[in-house]
Symmetry: C2
Subunit: 139 residues, 2 copies
């Protein structure tokens, strides 16, 4: 999916360059917070090849994140498992404590809604980038 196709078809605006989290991403992502009341929900858009670092949603209770894939093609991978290819309509439930990454396919824009599951003492632990060697195995 090209940027023009994404711009024409996306339901939720892509928002601005995701400067706050850029240090934890390879490539350019965009973040549009849809709401921070009750449950924080952001629309995250990734340019082709863009992915976030391995990370863990830590929480004492509850926590984690839910991805609702809306457009384009991407990947989700948990540590020690095969990457899962993502398409519009796919839902990923990421439990707290699980090391993982998500992002675009090498040749496609991708966007998902990210729903923060409320919990106690929640925080993100950011780890190492997904290496080019690992990422380049993906189509």
């Amino acid at each position: 999916m090209t940027k023009e196709e994404l711009a024409n078809r996306a339901v939720f605006p892509m928002g601005k360059e995701n400067a706050a989290f850029a240090q934890y991403f390879q490539g350019q992502s965009y973040l549009n917070m849809l709401t921070t009341e009750g449950v924080a929900i952001g629309n995250v858009t990734f340019e082709p090849g863009c992915r976030n670092n391995w990370h863990i949603h830590q929480a004492k209770n509850g926590g984690g994140q839910i991805l609702l894939c809306t457009i384009g093609r991407g990947y989700y991978q948990e540590w020690g498992k095969e990457a899962r290819e993502l398409h519009p309509g796919d839902v990923v439930v990421i439990p707290a404590g699980v090391k993982h990454w998500h992002g675009a396919a090498p040749n496609s824009w991708f966007a998902h809604l990210a729903v923060e599951v409320p919990g106690e003492e929640t925080k993100n632990e950011w780890c190492e980038p997904v290496s080019d060697t690992e990422y380049e195995k993906l189509k």
Copy 2:
């Protein structure tokens, strides 16, 4: 928006007829629960003219619901206020304790994601239907 247009363009499948809540709706709705882990998120689709009864998301703490409008045209109305017309990309944050209804426009299919905001002692209080007189004021 016609049913065919909705079927061709919708990102999230519409699921089955919403039998469990049919008693609280005028017209036919469809419900596809995307996840019930962490935060319950359902895709709700309304045929033209379909709307739910006035209702209140009761909670001792937290609670309420967030609507993420994905396709078609619909309405949201809080008791004593003007109805708000809804389009794809619109977000509605419904606080606990506020009497309201939502549904399709008279001549358009409509769908939104409904995100249940977690809370303490949450339950839905269902009230009277939106009267034809009130609803027929809407375009």
